[in-house]
């Protein structure tokens, strides 16, 4: 069983764009460890001859016709954004990382 480190938590937080103060890092390290330990119970099940699945419902080839339906929600969607400018979504200065 792998052990979650503070660095793992920092990395996950960074990938999810979450800003975690140092005192919370410790809290979440413990919590994540507990969650993974809990999920690890699944490892007790014998899956030797069970093919991997990615979803609970077994459906294949769910498709739709290539038809255009306009959804008149442009204004609503633009208004939902933190900032809009005219007909655009406005976002802060993009940093190159």
């Amino acid at each position: 069983m792998s052990k979650i480190t503070a660095d793992d938590v920092r990395k996950v937080a960074q990938l999810a764009r979450l800003s975690l103060p140092d005192d919370q890092i410790e809290t979440f390290t413990g919590q994540l460890e507990k969650i993974l330990t809990y999920v690890a119970h699944l490892e007790q099940v014998d899956t030797e001859n069970v093919p991997p699945t990615t979803r609970a419902v077994e459906v294949v080839n769910v498709t739709r016709e290539d038809e255009v339906t306009a959804t008149p929600v442009r204004e609503d969607l633009l208004d939902l954004a933190p900032q809009r400018e005219g007909d655009f979504f406005r976002v802060p200065k993009i940093l190159a990382d």
């Binding site: 990938l15 764009r17 990615t54 979803r55 419902v57 459906v59 294949v60 080839n61 769910v62 498709t63 739709r64 016709e65 290539d66 038809e67 255009v68 339906t69 306009a70 959804t71 929600v73 442009r74 969607l77 633009l78 939902l80 400018e85 005219g86 007909d87 655009f88 979504f89 406005r90 976002v91 802060p92 200065k93 993009i94 190159a96 990382d97």
Partner: protein, 516 residues
């Protein structure tokens, strides 16, 4: 680095031209640099609606007109695959000789960038719709022999496009104060085609991209418009010191919007990397942008290798299964592809490599040509007329071959009139503008206006005799040795007959009568 190579290249690198020759001739001896190039091509599939929702894909409309809750990834929305996208992707895959996967799925690729509304892109990771194929690319360059090269294709997968950013306060990202986002393009279906690193020159890269575009247009799955971004190529490029050496550090180049830009960007980048190695500068793994104005590649100065996309199967989308029946049904709908046409035109019609290449560039032109040949005209003649006056007219008037008033059967009729000695090429050229504009039967026009060739020896003899009688001085001069005057008489004869005299026969009779 081998010191031998360093000094060798210093000698050879006096001029850029000579160096690019060296770089391209990879197999010629030890010590040359071999470029290794691979392309990732994004092809927008020409469906009416987006890949996972019924919003329109129309280009060039007002910003954010074609968005809906699925495009924006609002909670509770459910993407559903457009079946046309699957059909187009499978057809494209088959045309590139790829193996179509019986089982395929969609994955989420997670990253944050403002042009990506959901903060993940729905793509295909480890089970793409198609893998392992190739295309034969004909590489033609001015002053060099044309050759055909087989380029491997790693895979083709389906994914969604991102939106477009407008950077405010500056024309570039650097220096901008904020950005504006238009999600009209977000969710438009893409096929990403990844080549193997089989390309060795900028020209090969450009020809490969051009053949991909041609195939997609033949299939009708994309318009391949590079200016509008329906076809975009990213180039991966490195150099190494020989075919058996390990690959050098790979650099990615983006932002080329023409085939010539792809070629030039590769050529520039090959020289930049060689020079860096020779002068001991590091070549770093990075993404560079092609600057069309300055004709150079520029570093984007972003950190590479730090991306962690955390792909996982998209739980909103069920897997895709393409059984044999479906696959073969689609295969049966594939048209004859440009490579096969080029080959057939040379074999069946005896056309030159050049003619075959020009005629098959656009499917509509090829089909026009074939229809005229099927109507009984000789292929070479048809090819010449299409590549000459007809192509010029079509281009000047921005017409498609299907809407050209002169139908292929009518062109065939004209070519047959010429080949059968009924009209001269000169007359054909005279009536062609009218035919191109209005269509109609060339034979009817010729008959109606009496434009048929005069091939009756007696009629021509009469005209020749009249001519000689009208120009006694010239006749005397001719007989005195000024044989060049034959041209003068030919001109007079053609003028008198409105260009209708059979040129061969007229010359024969004229020679005979002039001698006296």
């Amino acid at each position: 680095m081998d010191p031998y190579d360093l000094s060798f290249h210093r000698i050879m690198s006096k001029s850029v031209d000579r160096r690019s020759v060296m770089a391209a001739s990879a197999s010629s001896g030890q010590g040359t640099w071999e470029p290794v190039i691979g392309l990732e091509t994004h092809v927008q599939l020409g469906t009416n609606s987006k890949i996972f929702t019924s919003a329109s894909t129309t280009f060039g409309d007002d910003p954010n007109i074609h968005i809906d809750p699925v495009v924006c990834g609002l909670p509770g929305t459910l993407p559903v695959l457009n079946q046309k996208v699957l059909e187009y992707a499978v057809k494209a895959g088959m045309a590139l000789n790829l193996q179509i996967a019986e089982h395929s799925k969609f994955d989420r690729k997670q990253y944050f960038y403002p042009d990506l509304p959901k903060n993940y892109q729905i793509s295909q990771f480890d089970e793409p719709i198609a893998e392992e194929g190739w295309i034969d690319v004909e590489v033609a360059e001015k002053g060099k022999d044309t050759y055909t090269k087989r380029i491997g294709i790693e895979r083709l997968h389906m994914e969604e496009d991102a939106g477009k950013l407008v950077h405010a306060g500056s024309d570039r990202l650097a220096g901008s104060t904020h950005s504006l986002v238009d999600y009209n393009r977000a969710g438009v279906a893409l096929a990403e085609i990844v080549s193997k690193p089989d390309l060795r020159t900028g020209r090969e890269a450009a020809e490969y991209a051009s053949e991909i575009r041609r195939i997609m247009r033949y299939l009708g799955v994309s318009d391949g418009n590079m200016q509008e971004g329906s076809l975009r190529c990213d180039v991966n490029i490195s150099v190494r010191q020989g075919p058996d050496e390990p690959f050098g550090t790979k650099v990615e180049i983006k932002n080329m919007n023409s085939f010539s830009a792809i070629q030039k960007a590769c050529e520039y980048e090959i020289q930049r990397q060689i020079k860096a190695y020779e002068t001991g500068e590091p070549v770093v793994q990075e993404t560079r942008l092609w600057d069309e104005g300055k004709q150079i590649t520029k570093s984007m100065r972003s950190k590479e290798g730090s991306s962690d996309y955390r792909y996982f199967p998209d739980p909103d989308l069920g897997p895709i299964e393409v059984n044999e029946e479906r696959r073969e049904g689609w295969r049966a709908e594939l048209p004859e592809l440009p490579g096969a046409k080029r080959h057939r035109y040379a074999e069946e019609f005896g056309l030159s490599v050049y003619d075959a290449r020009v005629l098959t560039d656009e499917r509509s032109m090829a089909e026009y040509f074939e229809a005229a040949v099927a109507a009984g005209a000789e292929a070479k003649g048809v090819a010449n007329w299409i590549q000459g006056d007809i192509a010029a007219y079509v281009n000047a008037n921005r017409l498609g071959y299907s809407e050209l008033p002169l139908r292929p059967e009518q062109l065939a009729e004209m070519v047959k009139l010429i080949d059968g000695g009924k009209i001269s090429g000169k007359i054909a050229k005279e009536i062609l503008p009218e035919l191109l504009e209005k269509g109609g039967s060339p034979k009817a026009i010729v008959d109606e206006r009496g434009l048929g060739m005069i091939s009756d020896p007696a009629a021509i003899t009469t005209i020749v005799e009249e001519l000689l009688a009208a120009h006694p001085d010239e006749v005397e001069a001719f007989r005195g040795g000024k044989t060049k005057l034959q041209g003068f008489f030919v001109g007079q004869l053609m003028k008198k007959t409105g260009g209708k005299a059979d040129p061969k026969l007229a010359n024969q009779i004229l020679s005979q009568k002039l001698k006296g």
